[in-house]
């Protein structure tokens, strides 16, 4: 079943030239798409358009009727000083179903707390988010994304600020969740992502869809998407170079650097 069909989509901010245009993509049930690309390439703009936070500049995003999506935004967008409890954050994942005047009953609360227990942070349920560590907050946000039992889970860099243990657990959990929901995940971590996802989208001012999870440099050359893997100090780094042989990038090249 098709969940989302994207046609000739241009993304960006109103009144400015589009960041990426000519996006065509269909997201099906059980898809597991990794979204990669350098900072400023348009990954988050794409995700924001997908979730409906940003209107498309051109083209269309068609959603399957009654589509339930779960969204895990970048953790840096969260204001930790806001006076809100962990349970209330998780419950906000039901806002779509409840609407503006919605009442959240005991059942909903029990479900939220159950979900927190499942993910191993049940004891934090009554705490305010102010005292949480990065990893704990990331888990809370994951529960919020999952509480609506989504058909499509959208994650924007879920592994920033978390320890290796949680990262491993997260990928295991996502693999399990993928049996009943489609996943779109933005990640910087090129090496890790390729082991888990089924297909890859590369956004770098232009949009490339690779229907496999293999991103060895040789393989990607075939898709005109050369990727360089370099080491930068103690931290393994991945940098994407320009796409050769595609019209959108060569057009980009002619423009003066900002």
């Amino acid at each position: 079943m098709e969940l989302i069909r994207i046609k000739d989509l241009a993304i960006g901010y109103a009144g400015e030239p589009p960041i990426v245009s000519g996006i065509n993509l269909t997201i099906d049930e059980r898809d597991y798409i990794g979204v990669i690309g350098p900072n400023g390439g348009g990954k988050t703009t794409f995700i924001r358009t997908l979730t409906g936070a940003l209107p498309p500049l051109a083209g269309s995003v068609e959603y399957a009727k009654g589509l339930r999506t779960g969204y895990l935004p970048q953790i840096k967008s969260i204001d930790k000083s806001f006076p809100i409890s962990v349970t209330d954050v998780v419950l906000s994942g039901l806002a779509d179903r409840k609407g503006v005047f919605g009442r959240y009953g005991k059942k909903d609360k029990a479900r939220a707390i159950g979900l927190l227990h499942d993910i191993g942070i049940g004891k934090l349920a009554d705490r305010t988010i102010g005292g949480l560590s990065g990893g704990e907050l990331q888990r809370v946000l994951l529960c919020r994304a999952l509480i609506s039992d989504p058909q499509l889970l959208i994650l924007d860099e879920p592994t920033t600020f978390v320890d290796n243990k949680f990262e491993k657990e997260l990928y295991e959990l996502l693999a399990e969740l993928n049996r009943r929901m489609a996943i779109v995940m933005v990640s910087h971590d090129l090496g890790t992502i390729s082991r888990h996802v089924k297909s890859i989208v590369c956004i770098n001012r232009c949009f490339h869809y690779h229907p496999s999870n293999v991103i060895t440099p040789e393989q990607l050359q075939e898709y005109d998407c050369p990727i360089q893997l370099i080491s930068h100090g103690p931290i393994p780094h991945t940098v994407l170079s320009q796409h050769r042989g595609c019209t959108c990038c060569s057009h980009d090249q002619k423009q003066p650097e900002k």
């Binding site: 901010y13 009144g15 924001r48 979730t51 409906g52 936070a53 999506t69 969204y71 935004p73 967008s77 969260i78 204001d79 806001f82 006076p83 809100i84 409890s85 209330d88 954050v89 419950l91 906000s92 994942g93 806002a95 779509d96 409840k98 609407g99 503006v100 005047f101 919605g102 959240y104 305010t128 102010g130 919020r144 959208i154």
Partner: protein
């Protein structure tokens, strides 16, 4: 004290003032919690001061100053949001511009108005004794709207305030909610200018929330305690001004400052005693 309470019920102006104190405290408690949680304090200060421009122009034209203030406050509230959303000017720069621009427009028009403007001080520092019935009715309506709105859409409002992006992904009408809240902030500011004055109003919006925030980190409880704290402080201010002729707004804020100090010290003492207890037992 007893005499003061008796006079509240026998003198109409004092009764009005007491009622205004309570209604102001409630409105400022509800809106203040939102402002502090969303970090809109500086922006609200800008809106408050920008409204003085409207007061000045209304004086010059011989119109109702509060209508002028209301137009300026709502326009600057919506203006700051629109400006910063476009991304050309940062929100705090836009606020800074409107803040001083409003004040200067106000001063220019007050000076252009022939004759002396006797109520100028009461707009800057407030005079709760000058609150009239019309003002009270508006405050009543505002409180009713705020209480109704927050009891009906509490979660939609705080979820939008907490994480707008996520709220949008949940198809909450985030644009409508945040614009409505901006307008309510502007209206609350204007209707409370008479009680607290432009210069002192920010304290009534923020101090009760800061005090409540030291006691609880639950949004709902912060709101309730801010309303209680704000209302009691303005009542104390009224009483102090009744006894000693000190302006009520300033007295109310002094009372809040004393309360904050007292709570901080008692929390510190409680912690110290707990630690001492732990050491002697340990």
């Amino acid at each position: 004290m007893i005499e003061f309470i008796q006079e509240i019920f026998s003198y109409r102006f004092l009764g009005n003032a007491a009622l205004a104190a309570v209604l102001s405290g409630i409105a400022c408690g509800i809106v203040g919690t939102y402002i502090v949680s969303r970090r809109l304090v500086f922006m609200s200060g800008g809106i408050t001061h920008a409204s003085f421009g409207g007061i000045g122009i209304a004086y010059y034209l011989g119109a109702n100053p509060l209508i002028g203030a209301l137009i300026f406050a709502v326009c600057s509230a919506v203006g700051i949001e629109a400006f910063s959303r476009k991304g050309r000017i940062s929100e705090d720069a836009a606020t800074g511009v409107l803040w001083s621009l409003g004040m200067s427009v106000g001063i220019i028009f007050v000076f252009l108005t022939p004759g002396y403007a006797p109520n100028l001080m009461s707009f800057l520092f407030g005079n709760i004794l000058l609150v009239d019935s019309a003002n009270l009715i508006w405050l009543c309506v505002l409180d009713a709207v705020l209480i109704l709105l927050f009891s009906l859409c509490y979660r939609a409002i705080i979820y939008t305030a907490f994480d707008r992006e996520f709220a949008a992904s949940q198809k909450l009408p985030v644009g409508i909610i945040s614009h409505l809240m901006m307008i309510l902030i502007a209206v609350t500011i204007v209707l409370n200018i008479k009680t607290m004055g432009i210069v002192l109003l920010m304290s009534l919006l923020t101090m009760p929330v800061v005090i409540a925030g030291t006691l609880t980190r639950n949004y709902k409880r912060i709101t309730v305690w801010s309303c209680v704290g704000g209302a009691s402080a303005t009542l104390i201010g009224l009483y102090v001004s009744y006894e000693s002729n000190i302006p009520s707004g300033a007295a109310a804020i002094a009372a809040l400052a004393v309360a904050y100090g007292a709570i901080k010290i008692s929390l510190w003492l409680a912690r110290k005693r707990k630690r001492a207890g732990a050491i002697s037992r340990g």
